[in-house]
């Protein structure tokens, strides 16, 4: 019996990305962004989010022009068998790198902040275990989990940002653009890397239901909400920590540690960590699913579930062996991540888009 086709609504799909992007975005993005743009990092956020809108448009274009096809099939159709597969291989490799980086981000945050002595083997292992379980159950289940997690996450983040307001001094946001527009634009490149993750949707176009208009609507809405959510935390970080934002690894972690209401709501950081882990789980489960599904399409394996264990094991051992210190993750890993995101999620898609557009214009492409 063939398994029933799994479908997710456009809302669930964009929810996955929203949760994934803000989870890692609020924790690891502010510090490097502050280095480039200082208190103007909110401007970088807005400039960077343009990448998100562009990628949503590309997603919609692919969905509309190639109905019932994933980016894997579209690529081979556009570039031919050999080049298409080559490009796909590169894209999947870059996705694996993004997954490894996210896992390391998660593991190093936990090791530095909470579990000093627990071996990374266990911390990563457990995450990989639940990701494998989620990938086995499929995109539908991941989408539903995201729907359940969302209200808890939003409620918690909202209360964190409300509880810290007594410490906020808005004057830290000034001056605006004292060093010209270049610093925020430099910062926008980092932000765009985060927003480029919306391209992962293209790997699951066949699981989507609904008209292209709905993808456009939900996509733009989710990009906007992502911008807004990140903005809240960036502003809070700057307003509480001022110039110190750039000198600590996790400014948001520090801010959330500083919450104190009376003598009973204080030191909520372990709860913050738990909720954050929930978000990272959604991101990783989706990313692992995308990698596994696209590899199975690349290698023509009928059931993607056969690839779960080999690929999860590969990511597991890669993340155990790469970037074993905060320094290497920040100095080597972070720039590589930006490059990987910009190539895999921005450059290649845009190129594919133009090739497809050309072929459509020349009438070679059957719609």
């Amino acid at each position: 019996m063939m398994p029933k086709k799994e479908v997710v609504s456009t809302f669930q799909m964009h929810l996955l990305l929203y949760i994934g992007i803000i989870s890692t975005g609020i924790l690891t993005l502010p510090a490097p962004l502050y280095y480039y743009a200082q208190q103007n990092m909110w401007l970088s956020l807005f400039i960077g989010s343009i990448a998100g809108y562009v990628i949503i448009l590309i997603n919609v274009f692919f969905y509309k022009t190639f109905p019932r096809k994933n980016i894997t099939e579209i690529t081979t159709q556009l570039l031919g068998k050999f080049f298409g597969r080559l490009i796909l291989l590169i894209m999947i490799a870059l996705l694996i790198f993004q997954a490894v980086y996210t896992i390391k981000e998660y593991q190093i945050y936990l090791s530095v902040g909470f579990y000093q002595f627990t071996s990374p083997f266990v911390i990563i292992g457990f995450m990989m275990l639940v990701c494998a379980y989620a990938s086995k159950k499929g995109i539908e289940v991941i989408g539903r989990s995201a729907q359940i997690i969302l209200p808890f996450m939003l409620l918690f983040y909202l209360s964190v940002s409300l509880l810290i307001t007594p410490e906020v001094s808005l004057s830290n946001m000034l001056p605006v653009l004292e060093k010209g527009v270049m610093p925020p634009i430099k910062g926008a490149i980092l932000v765009a890397a985060w927003f480029s993750e919306f391209f992962w949707i293209s790997f699951c176009l066949t699981s989507l239901t609904g008209p292209p208009k709905k993808i456009l609507k939900h996509g733009f809405l989710s990009v906007f909400l992502t911008t807004l959510s990140l903005l809240v935390f960036f502003v809070i970080d700057i307003c509480v920590l001022g110039n110190y934002t750039g000198q600590t690894l996790y400014p948001t972690h520090l801010v959330e540690r500083y919450i104190q209401i009376g003598t009973f709501i204080e030191r909520v950081s372990a709860f913050f960590m738990s909720v954050w882990v929930l978000g990272v789980f959604i991101k990783l489960a989706f990313l692992c699913f995308v990698i596994i599904q696209s590899s199975s399409q690349l290698f023509h394996i009928s059931n993607y579930r056969y690839l779960i264990i080999p690929i999860i094991m590969m990511i597991f051992f890669l993340s155990l062996s790469l970037f074993n210190s905060t320094q290497s993750l920040l100095v080597i890993g972070f720039p590589l991540l930006i490059i990987a995101c910009q190539i895999g999620n921005v450059f290649i898609p845009i190129t594919l888009f133009f090739i497809a557009l050309l072929k459509v214009k020349m009438g070679k492409q059957q719609l």
Partner: protein
């Protein structure tokens, strides 16, 4: 070895032979009597009464029934007396049937069917020269009175509960849904028990494919006997390896009828007061019928309280373990100091303490359930001593642990559905173990695993967490909250194409 097997097979076969299950009733009364006497040999409760009637008393007849299952007075009144009044010429089937003043007469002609009728308490009448028997609906079983449901109690709401008799139960449903659209289909299950199982639904609201699927699954059950709806539930539910119940069982006719009106189907079995409702979703297990009777503001408040205590029931002891052994910075200083002071004399690590207390509590609960009612209070006194004052004074556990266990116990009793509360109790233990190794991270990974599992569950094709994930706006006001009744005007859509969307007002 093979010989021995073959022999056994034959032996079994020959044993079945004397019951003549598939034989038809012959027109010779003596043959039928022989078969019946053979079949019901060594049964002291069988009554086989042969008599003659008609003019000259020439027509021979045989009445067979199980004593204690039939209404003897009515047999005398409506069968024996009526037949005696018949004329000689009128001994054909039609006139006999007319003569019998019994409302329910069924013609049966196979012996397996006859056995079934006899077991159901229907006296069976054989008449010479007729190649069939008549089953008379004159059964009279000893049944319990309809009384208050003992497992799902409410303050406000009907006090009637299902009983063991299927007829009474269906009448309770008919009493509430007064339309011929209410269908009650019967299937016989169990090789020896021959239990009547009834599928009940409302035509036009319930998707026909759902009913088909239920019938299909029930027919697949191969068991010798079915005595409780739980035995059916276990065999027809989708995820048989899941600790979560995916079929809702209820003892209350009002919950049952409420579910039918929503377009669900119900299963009742003879001999069990527990009816099954399907498809059933997660939030059904955490709502009580009283939520709908006490106004939506109160209903919502109570539901929110219940859901928040669900988390405590599941995670309470684990949170305590996580916070006191991994994340001590989270506890306010003065509380930490008093915990440290009280824990100084305790010989066990916190996790051992927690598991010890939880297991003791579960044992006490189980003991209290199984004890005869008269000894029940003894257990509560012993329990209060064991997990209360004495354990603290002996420094076996810290006082705070006792408080945590007590709150967890209260929280687990707040879950309205017994099956669901058992699941929560069971899941608590692996979470405690995982937490003792990883702190809050252990809790989070357990929660994630449970979440993935819940999201992947389906009950007869319907996602288990339905109105929330996948999100359905219309249904979502009856999940964590209980919206006003006038807002619940869209019937939930389960599977298939039939969806009677609007709940009509008039």
């Amino acid at each position: 070895m093979m010989n021995w097997l073959r022999k056994k097979k034959e032996k079994n076969h020959s044993k079945d032979k004397i019951y003549n299950d598939h034989k038809k009733v012959s027109d010779r009364l003596a043959d039928s009597e022989h078969i019946l006497r053979q079949a019901y040999s060594k049964s002291s409760d069988i009554v086989i009464k042969s008599f003659t009637f008609g003019k000259n008393m020439r027509t021979q007849a045989l009445l067979i029934y199980l004593s204690g299952t039939v209404d003897v007075v009515q047999i005398d009144e409506h069968v024996l007396k009526s037949l005696h009044l018949l004329n000689d010429q009128e001994n054909d089937l039609e006139s006999i049937k007319n003569a019998l003043t019994v409302p329910e007469i069924i013609e049966v002609n196979h012996f397996d069917r006859i056995y079934h009728e006899i077991s159901n308490g229907h006296p069976v009448l054989f008449i010479d020269h007729l190649p069939l028997a008549l089953s008379l609906g004159l059964s009279k079983w000893a049944t319990r009175q309809v009384e208050d449901s003992s497992t799902e109690t409410v303050i406000r709401g009907p006090k009637e509960g299902f009983v063991e008799s299927l007829e009474t139960n269906t009448s309770l449903i008919r009493k509430r849904i007064r339309t011929p659209r209410l269908k009650i289909e019967q299937i016989i299950v169990g090789k020896y028990s021959r239990t009547p199982v009834v599928i009940s639904y409302i035509d036009g609201l319930c998707d026909p494919s759902l009913v088909e699927e239920i019938v299909h699954r029930i027919k697949k059950i191969a068991m010798d006997g079915i005595f409780e709806s739980g035995m059916i539930q276990e065999q027809i539910q989708d995820a048989q390896w899941s600790p979560f119940p995916t079929i809702f069982s209820t003892e209350r006719p009002d919950s049952f009828c409420g579910a039918l009106i929503e377009g669900r189907a119900g299963i009742l079995i003879d001999g069990s007061p527990f009816a099954l409702i399907l498809p059933s979703t997660f939030f059904m297990f955490f709502s009580s019928p009283e939520d709908y009777y006490s106004g939506f503001i109160i209903g919502t408040a109570i539901r929110l309280l219940r859901i928040s205590f669900l988390f405590i029931a599941l995670l309470g002891p684990s949170l305590y373990v996580a916070v006191t052994t991994f994340h001590q910075e989270m506890i306010p200083t003065t509380l930490l100091i008093s915990i440290a002071q009280s824990h100084e004399q305790v010989p066990f690590p916190t996790v051992v303490e927690a598991i010890l207390m939880e297991v003791t509590f579960e044992a006490l609960r189980e003991a209290g359930l199984r004890l005869p009612r008269q000894v029940g209070p003894a257990i509560s006194i012993v329990g209060a001593l064991v997990i209360g004052q004495a354990a603290i004074q002996a420094s076996l556990v810290s006082p705070l642990m006792v408080i945590v266990v007590a709150i967890t116990a209260i929280a687990s009793f707040m879950i309205p559905h017994y099956d669901a509360s058992n699941t929560v109790r069971l899941l608590r233990f692996p979470i405690i173990l995982l937490t003792s190794m990883f702190g809050l991270l252990g809790i989070i990974f357990s929660v994630i695993a449970i979440l993935i599992h819940l999201c992947s569950l389906r009950s007869f094709g319907v996602p288990y967490l339905e109105p929330l994930a996948p999100f359905k706006k219309a249904g979502s006001i009856d999940t964590l909250i209980r919206g006003p009744l006038w807002k619940m005007n869209i019937r939930p859509h389960f599977t298939g194409t039939l969806w009677n969307k609007k709940r009509s007002g008039k």
